[in-house]
């Protein structure tokens, strides 16, 4: 017997909120229909009516978590269109902001994934250590989110010398904590059992659906715009690309966790190599033509296309956020797994979770299921696993 469980509707992370219809047979998920548009605000339409300077602030408000990725891609696109070279120091500052953002976004994801598993300690831990990053943002840019740092031809604010020492202090503190947490997470047999082998996205499917970012790198597709098409200071500092072949949730989590360490490495490299100097070049005007800008956001590649007719407003402005490609891949990733796992699989591409727990009440024949129920199902499964592991001597624990 087939049952349909609607999950949704709002999903407020990027421009793409989602409404999932899970098709289940017994406990197993057999199909998924995704319905989006609850968050559609018409950014592309609005962007055609704003000047290039204003567009940076408009696209900043596409997403609040990766709120420097869209402006980053936007300035890259306009600079590509006009052929602008930015000063060295501006490159480093842009990179530092981009990596700090990746750090806080990955912390946010790991915390929420812990919450979905019923591991609330993890949630509180990660959100506690995310707080110093936000304070750092307030110190450097003047706001906890929506930094307003990017500017065509450079950055709008400089990083002061006294701020550099506070960045370094926070990075040292965070690195120790991150290493500790990574060990704590990867050692934990319950997490390993909960995430390992679940929601597998094969490499073929990953290529077919064109997935990006940690979702792709967890499935063995080694793409990263920072390496493939280096911009800002990503080719000036040493760092590595993290790839895992398994394609399950654990692999995606590992990619994100280890990327946190890479981000810290990049920030340190930037702070070391950064020299005093100009932070912006003067932009005369934007010629007619077209430009493409890319940036590796925490969730994957952000793509902006801009076409100009020589006036101060663009003729066409196209935005492609990473979740736009990642979310449809859930259709294949979720098939064949339990309902209790579905919530984790849907969350694994890092769309948005704060909504998952306040999904509207859903009707399913005689049964009523809410988002909260789904969460409870997920927690129950973790509890069962915990019991199982505490009763029997398990192989996983002895391995560690």
């Amino acid at each position: 017997m087939k049952t349909i469980i609607p999950v949704g509707p709002y999903h407020p992370l990027q421009a793409e909120p989602e409404f999932f219809k899970l098709e289940v047979e017994g406990e197993k998920v057999t199909g998924l229909e995704i319905n989006i548009g609850y968050n559609h605000r018409g950014h592309e339409y609005l962007a055609q009516r704003k000047t290039y300077e204003q567009i940076i602030f408009l696209v900043e408000r596409i997403c609040g978590i990766c709120s420097c990725s869209h402006p980053f891609a936007s300035v890259n696109a306009v600079e590509n269109l006009a052929g602008i070279e930015i000063p060295e120091r501006a490159k480093y500052i842009r990179t530092i902001i981009g990596e700090l953002e990746r750090l806080h976004s990955h912390f946010l994801w790991v915390g929420l994934a812990g919450h979905f598993m019923g591991y609330n300690t993890l949630w509180m831990w990660f959100w506690r250590y995310r707080e110093p990053i936000l304070e750092l943002f307030e110190l450097i840019t003047g706001n906890r989110n929506h930094y307003a740092m990017m500017k065509i031809g450079g950055v709008s604010k400089d990083i002061e010398d006294e701020d550099i020492s506070s960045i370094q202090k926070t990075m040292n503190e965070l690195e120790a904590k991150t290493v500790m947490f990574i060990k704590a997470i990867l050692d934990d047999p319950v997490i390993a059992a909960r995430l390992g082998g679940v929601g597998i996205l094969t490499k073929e499917d990953a290529i077919k659906y064109g997935v990006l970012g940690p979702t792709a790198r967890g499935s063995g597709v080694a793409i990263d715009v920072r390496k493939d098409d280096p911009y800002a200071a990503y080719d000036l500092v040493p760092w590595d690309i993290i790839v895992f072949e398994e394609g399950d949730l654990l692999a995606k989590a590992k990619v994100r966790l280890l990327e946190c360490l890479e981000s810290i490495k990049i920030i340190r490299g930037c702070l070391e190599q950064m020299r005093k100097g100009e932070i912006e070049t003067k932009v005369e005007d934007i010629p007619p033509g077209e430009g493409i800008g890319r940036h590796e956001a925490p969730r994957g590649e952000v793509f902006h296309y801009v076409r100009s007719d020589g006036s101060n407003m663009p003729l066409r402005y196209k935005v492609r956020a990473p979740s736009y490609m990642n979310v449809p891949s859930n259709e294949v990733a979720v098939k064949g797994y339990d309902i209790a796992d579905a919530i984790l699989v849907l969350a694994s591409v890092d769309p948005c979770y704060c909504c998952t727990e306040r999904m509207a009440t859903l009707y399913d024949g005689n049964k009523k299921l809410t988002g909260k129920d789904l969460l409870k199902l997920s927690w129950k499964k973790t509890e069962q696993l915990k019991k199982k592991f505490s009763h029997s001597e398990n192989k996983l624990a002895s391995l560690l």
């Binding site: 704003k50 300077e53 204003q54 940076i56 602030f57 408009l58 408000r61 300690t121 831990w125 506690r128 304070e135 307030e138 110190l139 450097i140 840019t141 003047g142 706001n143 929506h146 307003a148 709008s156 604010k157 500790m180 060990k183 704590a184 050692d187 934990d188 047999p189 624990a397 560690l400």
Partner: protein, 201 residues
């Protein structure tokens, strides 16, 4: 299984010794960072009413309304619409706008979010069009120095301000010839006055 538990226990003990991480807010103040962009204030004495802030605002949080009857320019800032991006602060050459570190904006009604300043306008004597604010003309006069005396509009404003002429004298009907050029005119009317001299009316 033993080792990881110990590690997590260590973290718990550290948190226990370290005291609470939670802020005391709202019982103790929690000041924002030095660069924080909070509630915006106008410095009326510095503003010249050029309207650059209105042009650059991405969120339409600023309005510029010219009142031709009262001869004033009203520059409004709507706090509830503001996105605190700091563009107007950056582009204001006169530092007349400033983000303070205050962030408590919560209110039960929408009233009181709007603050504005009014600036005196100068209008064209011939067509009644807006030239610009008096403060901006004075600023231009100051900037161009003695060259200000080559432009009758600037000369008139400047002499008035310096107290040399108390009032622009009442004059008869407007004559679109050189005799009529010593008046407050908008660029368009000034052009037509000068061209009349050459090409006739």
């Amino acid at each position: 299984m033993k080792k990881p538990k110990l590690r997590e226990l260590g973290e718990a003990i550290r948190a226990l010794i370290g005291g609470p991480y939670t802020t005391k807010f709202p019982f103790a103040p929690s000041p924002a960072a030095k660069r924080f962009r909070g509630i915006m204030v106008f410095h009326e004495e510095k503003c010249i009413g050029c309207g650059a802030c209105v042009e650059v605002c991405p969120a339409n949080a600023r309005e510029l309304i010219d009142d031709l009857e009262k001869k004033t320019r009203k520059l409004t800032h709507i706090q509830e619409r503001c996105i605190y991006c700091g563009q107007c602060e950056t582009y204001c050459k006169w530092e007349a706008l400033e983000h303070t570190q205050e962030y408590d904006l919560a209110q039960l009604t929408k009233e009181g979010y709007t603050n504005y300043i009014e600036k005196e306008l100068v209008t064209c004597e011939l067509c009644g069009e807006v030239i610009t604010t008096k403060d901006q003309l004075l600023w231009i006069a100051k900037k161009v120095g003695e060259l200000a005396y080559s432009n009758p509009t600037l000369t008139l404003i400047l002499t008035q301000e310096l107290g040399i002429t108390e009032k622009i004298p009442e004059r008869g009907e407007f004559v679109p010839y050189r005799s009529g050029h010593l008046r407050l005119l908008c660029p368009k009317c000034r052009r037509s006055v000068y061209l009349n001299e050459i090409w006739g009316y």
